[in-house]
């Protein structure tokens, strides 16, 4: 399966502040009553974006200046909590193509990478400066140079960390591992018989 080589993501960005933003906040569980991921984008951050009557609350995603944002900027431990892929799927289907944060929760990070949505780690000072730049000029283009592990925006240029395995997978266009896993079928059968505890 030939996938796109994700060497760069560019677009405008929005800053959603907060540490420990969990997957229940990204997509409340009641919207997971579905058998496909279609339409999940609509419910992204629902309970912090909408009041009980469904009217907009004060939230960066409701700010008309950031309606076209495709890069999310946030703080530490983003995506903690549940393993639900509904969270990255909701971000992706809403229109996000990358996340810049101070750190990510493990399972969420892996789920995003598998969708070809880079999660890059920046220092707290860089996140603060980038958020300020985007706030000042919402139309400013943010470039995530995945291949060069850098972020550029409004004259800023700083390095970011990308987990090596994710880096390799993204830039080589192998972020969905299924093809390579299936190529290993014979080796899997061998491992099963060597282990002895699994009925083949």
């Amino acid at each position: 399966m030939a996938l796109e080589k994700i060497t760069q993501v560019k677009g405008t960005a929005v800053y959603v502040p907060g540490n420990d933003i969990d997957t229940d906040r990204i997509i409340p569980a009641r919207f997971m009553k579905c058998v496909t991921f279609d339409g999940l984008g609509e419910y992204l951050f629902y309970d912090v974006r909408k009041d009980e009557e469904g009217n907009d609350k004060d939230h960066p995603l409701n700010d008309e200046r950031f309606q076209s944002a495709s890069i999310l900027i946030t703080n530490a431990n983003f995506g903690c909590g549940s393993s639900r892929e509904h969270a990255p799927q909701a971000l992706y289907r809403y229109g996000f193509r990358a996340v810049i944060a101070e750190s990510f929760a493990d399972i969420f990070f892996g789920n995003c990478t598998t969708l070809g949505m880079p999660c890059v780690v920046a220092g707290a000072d860089e996140v603060r400066a980038l958020a300020a730049a985007v706030e000042q000029d919402p139309a400013a283009e943010v470039i995530i140079d995945v291949a060069g592990s850098r972020v550029l925006c409004s004259g800023m240029d700083f390095s970011v960390e990308i987990v090596p395995a994710a880096y390799e997978a993204l830039i080589s266009g192998q972020w969905d591992p299924i093809a390579e896993l299936q190529e290993g079928d014979a080796a899997v059968a061998e491992r099963i018989s060597a282990l002895g505890y699994l009925p083949g």
Partner: protein
């Protein structure tokens, strides 16, 4: 008993590490090596998954992707399904009143049927929360790899399995290949030594660990829990500990297998029998961490330092002793901490500096994959007799599986609960995450034996959750306010 004394030193402290060949391995490394198929082009490992558990929420899309690939389930005998998140705990007759929930159970049934997967459906009498069903059926076994599209999969680590919570695309990977792509984790050994005082339980221990190490402290790690307290714990207590590893940021958590593990598994439906049993026990013993193994980090905790613990905020690491006072944002050591305390107190409608004890409770929830097992209900029942749920409190007790329900009923436990004013419900995830009719309303405050206190977690966007042990939930239910169970049930007197 296996000798469970470990020589452990943080990697950084070892200037002259013996060569790999002469050094023992920890359980994580042994299980990883035994299940590693090959290296992938991005540097990750293709890891064989011995047992795959699925449920209705995170599997339907994976089966859809599998169909798109034109693939079949590669080893259908290694996947087991149950239905838990969306099942109503009161009206359990199909069709369910919620058409979305009804579509999900039908989809799971269709997928299990089409691909030849064992499915513990409602009619089998074996349905329940996936992390209760696996151990109870003997499907969860030491020294194996387990994956499930649910972050509380670490629960199975109580048996010395390496158990990963995974996303839906990975569920597809496991269905299609019985493997997934993964980077190796570091291992942190958490020693808990000593004895718990009366009224302090496994739940308090894990809440204490998370508060100490932080909600992101475990990122990149597997947690190995050990020490004399863990050795003294029953399998169900060990499950409570491992269950909440992810709340501490750790993707897996485990306890080394010992005689208690084997005794628990003996005679279960999927446990090996006869000669196979002897061979299995030998293999399981060999997978336990070696005495001379190394860890990437070691943390020591004294059991005596642990009090009945409750959360006060909207992240599981915002927890303290029941006698604690709410933090003051003005005394925070950083701007981020100040904002976080402010946000949490505002959401919880609690005042800085005040005691949490005495806060009015609207709902008491007893259940979940953390604390919905037989021993949880037995322990609460010991103290609940002669007490009544306070006026204005809705109290529900939800067994983690149909088997837990049956065993509890056989002992008459359900009567103790219903006589006290609890509703005794059918098995499921219930109010832990509110994908079923059990939900908070408005800003109700729930004393909950579940695992997450995130904003909106229990179904109302403004609902408030205070996590605690089952006995503390019972104390809150009968007193109508967050209470110290040791006082409500005169525990110290009863147990010393």
């Amino acid at each position: 008993m296996l000798p469970l004394r470990f020589f452990c030193a943080p990697l950084a402290a070892c200037a002259n590490l013996p060569s790999r060949e002469t050094m023992g391995q920890n359980l994580f490394e042994k299980v990883w090596d035994a299940h590693a198929v090959r290296s992938l082009s991005n540097g990750q490992t293709q890891l064989l998954i011995g047992t795959h558990l699925i449920h209705e929420v995170t599997s339907p899309q994976a089966f859809g992707m599998l169909r798109d690939l034109g693939s079949k389930v590669k080893y259908p005998s290694r996947t087991f399904a149950t239905v838990d998140h969306i099942v109503p705990t009161d009206q359990r007759v199909e069709p369910f009143s919620d058409p979305l929930a009804d579509a999900m159970i039908r989809e799971l049934r269709r997928n299990a049927d089409e691909f030849g997967i064992t499915y513990f459906d409602l009619a089998t009498g074996k349905q329940g929360i996936v992390h209760v069903v696996g151990p109870e059926q003997g499907i969860t076994q030491p020294g194996t790899t387990i994956a499930c599209g649910d972050s509380h999969t670490a629960t199975h680590g109580a048996f010395g399995a390496i158990a990963f919570g995974i996303g839906t695309t990975q569920v597809r990977d496991v269905l299609a290949t019985q493997t997934m792509a993964l980077g190796k984790l570091k291992v942190r050994r958490i020693n808990v030594e000593g004895n718990l005082s009366a009224g302090v339980y496994a739940k308090d221990v894990i809440l204490h660990i998370i508060a100490k190490l932080g909600a992101k402290g475990g990122i990149g790690y597997a947690y190995e829990y050990g020490g004399s307290l863990l050795e003294s714990f029953s399998m169900e207590e060990r499950m409570t500990i491992c269950n909440m590893s992810i709340e501490g940021g750790a993707r897996c958590g485990y306890v080394n297998p010992d005689e208690k593990t084997f005794e628990y598994l003996k005679g279960r439906p999927y446990s090996p029998e006869g000669v196979e049993w002897e061979k299995a026990v030998e293999r399981w013993q060999s997978m336990a961490s070696d005495e001379d193994c190394r860890y990437d980090d070691v943390v020591d905790i004294r059991a005596e330092d642990i009090a009945p613990t409750v959360t006060w905020g909207v992240s599981p690491d915002q927890a303290f002793s029941i006698n604690g006072h709410l933090p003051d944002p003005e005394k925070a050591t950083s701007e981020a901490e100040r904002l976080s305390i402010d946000e949490s107190l505002a959401y919880m409608k609690l005042a800085a500096g005040s005691a949490i004890k005495g806060t009015k409770v609207d709902v008491a929830f007893l259940g979940s994959c953390t604390n919905g097992r037989l021993s949880d209900f037995r322990e609460v029942a010991r103290f609940l007799k002669g007490h009544k749920v306070a006026n204005g409190v809705k109290a529900i007790a939800v067994p983690g599986s149909q088997i837990v329900d049956t065993l509890a009923r056989n002992e008459g436990l359900h009567e103790v609960f219903t006589e006290a004013g609890f509703e005794w419900r059918g098995a499921g995830c219930s109010m832990c995450l509110a994908m079923n009719p059990d939900k908070l309303v408005g800003d109700q405050l729930c004393a909950s034996s579940s695992n997450r206190n995130f904003k909106g977690r229990q179904g109302s966007p403004t609902g408030r959750t205070v996590l605690m042990s089952p006995v503390m939930v019972a104390a809150a239910a009968v007193s109508g306010v967050i209470s110290d169970a040791r006082e409500v049930f005169e525990l110290e007197g009863a147990l010393t």
